[in-house]
């Protein structure tokens, strides 16, 4: 992951792969996000040009999907489930603990780009409630001590 100093040297080669193919916007955005951890706003115009779209359209698609971000995100993205099942099992307390421990509000990223805290409507794992995800890993049946140990596991 390249975060602090953005090196866009590979960007052109990503673009070339999809040039002129309007349908390829989402795969292309996913590739850019994978490469840089987010979609640098400066890449919107070249992407639009390559795909014969308007920059505003590209921005519209990026901001529509929760999977895309226009701001740098942490190395580990923590998604706390705020669905009904998790709520009745104490999901709100889990979120509060994370907010206090990380000093972040939902949607924010820590200054050292280690963590991003997010909430989601449902992770689809209600039987494990309350749940959270760190990048692509699920954690269920959470308790305050468990949350703390997860954080320790991913801390720098």
């Amino acid at each position: 992951m390249k975060i602090q100093e953005l090196d866009l040297s590979d960007f052109e080669s990503i673009l070339t792969e999809y040039k002129g193919q309007k349908w390829a916007l989402i795969p292309l955005l996913q590739k850019v996000q994978e490469e840089y951890g987010y979609i640098p706003p400066d890449t919107i115009e070249p992407i639009a040009k390559a795909l014969h779209l308007f920059p505003s359209e590209v921005q519209g698609v990026i901001t529509f999907y929760a999977q895309f971000s226009l701001t740098p995100r942490g190395k580990y993205v923590i998604r706390v489930c705020r669905g009904t099942a998790c709520h009745v099992r104490g999901g709100r307390s889990i979120l509060r603990i994370l907010m206090r421990e990380l000093g972040l509000k939902p949607g924010e990223t820590s200054e050292d780009y280690q963590f991003t805290l997010e909430t989601v409507a449902c992770l689809g794992a209600c039987f494990l409630a309350p749940t959270l995800m760190v990048n692509k890993t699920y954690f269920g049946r959470l308790t305050p001590p468990k949350v703390n140990s997860i954080l320790k596991q991913y801390a720098k």
């Binding site: 706003p41 919107i44 115009e45 040009k49 779209l53 308007f54 920059p55 505003s56 359209e57 921005q59 519209g60 901001t63 529509f64």
Partner: protein
């Protein structure tokens, strides 16, 4: 297409496959309310106000997007439908501010109309105000997104009609709203302030800034915009004899819902306080207000004096290209019959007329604006439609986006359309001739191209193209032969093809020859493909075509007349609605006008020429007179007097007629219509124009297309023009049009809103700048052998090397050009660092 029968509210109705329920309902006059639907846009189905009930299935359907089907039975006003609509509208109102009383939209608000139809007095829901206002500096459009109902009409107008792409939705859910890139103000986006979104917004979320009056206009009158040659139809809204707004959307017009920033917001020049109100006469060296009688008598006497002492041929009348057909024909008749003088229009059309007449036998286009959108292949050479004739630009962009037409742009400059082009040939400046010859040379190498051409012509063409080698072409034009072939193949692959050419071709020193080459190129490709290639000269001045048809384009140029004035052969001059002082050769014009014995100027404002005149007549603007105008595609459209003449001003035709009267040769015309009947309609080309039928309806009449065959495709003997080596003045100053001003800004400069977008600058290439050690924002001095101008520099890649670009309004009144360079695109200059 097959017919489908179904029922609406129990009545049997018929529609065709692909129709929506809403379309059929409207055909039968059945009312269904809508907010996001507009016949000019693709159906969207966002607002859910047009819900109807499917009786058999019990579903609620959005009628604007539901196609009809056999046996369908819908009800438009069942209690369930009405309740659903009420909920939808209440939800919209729950996030809508309660500011209807002071809202700019007033009674035109569709949301308010529908709410009142549905009897919604109180919303009942918990209010959730959304969005905050956006700080904007532009003088045209204000956004208050708290009133936005997310119908996306603005976004769709932007993408589907104007094809600018300035805005789209940002975010999703409750957060989503129409936004520019990075959600900034409009002025730093691609927005051109055409106002189409404002026109279509159903609520008060988008509104016009700086309107001369708040509230509703008392009435509106349909007329024709007189700024550029597109000839848009518009309604002028009037209150207390003042134009307070412009609306688009007249059915059948060339522009439909769209207009450009000039048409939509430039109207404030009409009631500008600086308008000339009374005639002026020079007394003891000063211009003083006088009565009409006094001024008319003096004008008649002055003209008589010059005619009697030096002969009628020493008098000339120059009119600007925005005179009506009636005025043009009257000016010609008055000059020839009463004075024995010459009359011309200042539109620089001579090279176009010469070049087209000689080759294809007609002037103008056989195509239409619609062709620009529907063509399969469009080639643009030396024209910048998005700035000079915006509606033509919209058509081209729509063609690219909707119909996937192949756009080829040949231009040394990066213009807006290069972004839409399949191919952009960045030809070196001044080498269009070589490029066109190269195209013809490549075509002539194909056997099948020679079929339709006589042997004599083929020989002449071959001889002409033999003189240039492909190596020369690559070296001088900067375009490889492969690129040329690719462009030709792409263009020829289109079944319907259009070649658009403009000032970049016609205003070169060899303009007439270049026009010939363009015509020949089009003809050869036409013969190859077996159907005609549409030639579309982009004549951007409003009624230049009409002035040509009325005989005012006759080989004499204004420069020739000013030269005549300097040498003493032109002694009397009457300038009507034009100001030569905005030209870059104004120094020479000043000298010329000093020599003129008797100068009359008719204008709406005190122009540079007017300040030097003996008599100044106040002219009425286009909103104050009737008549007809002929647009870029040869469509005759009507102008209507919308308000009474400002002050004591009179239409130009009336001034001419009054002077003729004072000279003892009265015309006895009551109104413009009499001139149309007696002088315009007798012209064979205009015989189909039925002005008597022009009631309050929109009227237009496409002039009959020329049926004359191609006269010749032979290329005259001429040494190929290789670009000259740079000398003491190594840079070329290219003067071009900008969107916010028309031409040099003779009229648009009096629109205070358009003037707020005025920016005096010169653009230069980044490589040149670094070599000259000039940085963006520096001030430089442009120097020609005749004069100089200090100006701020913008460093950009848009401009090719060796070229300085300046918008026309920025060269206004400079002395950079000589009379010989008048009407030319390029002026040779050098640049110096400004002392400060």
């Amino acid at each position: 297409m097959s017919e489908i029968t179904f029922t609406i509210n129990g009545n049997t109705v018929k529609g065709e496959t692909g129709n929506t329920i809403l379309e059929v309902a409207r055909n039968y006059g059945i009312y269904i309310p809508t907010l996001c639907y507009d016949p000019h846009l693709e159906p969207y189905g966002a607002c859910r106000v047009c819900l109807v009930e499917d009786v058999k299935r019990g579903n609620l359907l959005a009628s604007c997007v539901t196609p009809i089907s056999e046996g369908l039975s819908v009800v438009t006003d069942s209690p369930r439908v009405l309740e659903a609509r009420r909920v939808v509208v209440k939800l919209m109102l729950s996030s809508h501010p309660e500011s209807c009383i002071v809202c700019e939209k007033g009674n035109r608000c569709q949301l308010r109309q529908i709410a009142s139809e549905l009897g919604i007095g109180r919303v009942d829901y918990y209010p959730m105000p959304n969005f905050t206002g956006i700080q904007e500096l532009n003088p045209f459009i204000q956004r208050d997104l708290s009133k936005c109902i997310l119908c996306a009409k603005c976004i769709r107008a932007d993408h589907e009609l104007v094809v600018e792409g300035a805005i789209d939705y940002l975010g999703r859910g409750f957060e989503s709203h129409p936004a520019t890139l990075n959600d900034g103000p409009l002025e730093i986006s691609e927005c051109t302030f055409c106002g189409t979104c404002v026109e279509m917004c159903p609520t008060g979320a988008l509104f016009e800034r700086g309107k001369p009056a708040r509230g509703t206009a008392s009435h509106r009158v349909a007329t024709t915009c007189s700024f550029c040659g597109c000839g848009c139809s518009l309604w002028l809204e009037v209150r207390e004899n003042q134009v307070v707004g412009v609306r688009s959307g007249i059915a059948g017009s060339v522009n439909g819902m769209t207009l450009c920033v000039k048409g939509h917001y430039g109207y404030d020049f009409i009631n500008h306080p600086d308008r000339l109100q009374r005639p002026l006469m020079r007394k003891n060296g000063e211009l003083m207000e006088s009565s009409w009688d006094e001024a008319l008598t003096a004008a008649a006497e002055g003209l008589k004096r010059v005619r009697d002492s030096s002969g009628g041929e020493s008098i000339a009348l120059i009119t600007g290209p925005h005179c009506t057909n009636e005025e043009a024909v009257l000016i010609g008749d008055f000059a020839h019959r009463v004075l024995g003088a010459q009359a011309i229009c200042s539109a620089a059309l001579n090279s176009l007329v010469g070049g087209m007449k000689e080759t294809v036998g007609y002037v103008g286009t056989k195509g239409s604006m619609q062709d620009l959108e529907e063509a399969d292949a469009v080639l643009i050479i030396g024209a910048n439609p998005t700035e000079t004739a915006p509606i033509a630009g919209y058509n081209i962009k729509r063609g690219v986006r909707k119909h996937q037409s192949s756009l080829i742009v040949i231009d040394p400059f990066e213009i807006k359309l290069t972004r839409f082009a399949r191919l952009w040939l960045r030809v070196n400046i001044g080498t269009d001739e070589l490029l066109l010859l190269a195209f013809i040379k490549i075509l002539m190498e194909k056997k099948e191209c020679q079929k339709g051409i006589s042997r004599k012509d083929a020989r002449a063409i071959k001889k002409a193209v033999k003189r240039i080698s492909m190596k020369d072409i690559e070296q001088y034009t900067g375009i490889s032969v492969e690129q040329l072939k690719e462009a030709l193949d792409l263009f020829c692959s289109g079944e319907r093809r259009v070649i658009i050419f403009g000032n970049g071709i016609t205003q070169q020193p060899n303009g007439e020859y270049l026009v010939r080459l363009v015509c020949i190129l089009g003809t050869i490709i036409g013969r190859l493909k077996g159907n005609e290639t549409v030639l579309f000269p982009l004549i951007y001045q409003s009624n230049a075509m009409g002035a040509y048809h009325m005989g005012l384009v006759n080989g004499i140029t204004p420069a020739l007349l000013f030269e005549g004035a300097r040498s003493g052969s032109v002694k009397g001059l009457w300038i009507i609605g034009d100001d030569p002082f905005v030209l870059p050769e104004s120094g020479f014009i000043e000298e010329a006008l000093k020599e003129v014995e008797f100068l009359i100027v008719s204008d709406t404002f005190l122009s540079g020429a007017a300040e030097r005149a003996d008599i100044v007549f106040p002219s009425a603007s286009f909103a104050e007179k009737g008549g007809t105008m002929t647009n870029i595609e040869g469509r005759v459209q009507q102008l209507r007097p919308v308000i009474d003449c400002v002050g004591e001003s009179r239409p130009d035709w009336a001034i001419i007629a009054d002077v003729a009267d004072a000279m003892g040769s009265p015309y006895r015309f009551e109104s413009e219509r009499d001139i149309t009947e007696e002088m315009v309609r007798p012209l064979p080309l205009y015989s189909r124009v039925h002005i008597r039928d022009m009631g309050d309806e929109y009227y237009s009449c496409l002039l009959p297309r020329s049926e004359s065959g191609v006269r010749t495709v032979s290329i005259p003997e001429r040494a190929p023009g290789f670009p000259a080596k740079s000398g003491e003045y190594p840079y070329r100053l290219i003067v071009g049009s900008v969107l916010f001003q028309l031409g040099f800004g003779h009229r648009t400069a009096h629109s205070s809103r358009l003037m707020r977008m005025e920016d005096a600058y010169a653009q230069m290439n980044a490589d040149d700048a670094s070599r000259e050690e000039i940085q963006d924002g520096d001030h430089i001095k442009l120097r020609s052998p005749h004069g100089e101008r200090e100006i701020r520099v913008q460093v950009t890649e848009r401009v090719p090397r060796g070229v300085i670009f300046m918008p026309r309004p920025s060269v206004k009144g400079t002395n950079l050009a000589s009379l010989a360079e008048s009407e030319l695109k390029a002026i040779h200059i050098r640049i110096e660092r400004a002392s400060s």
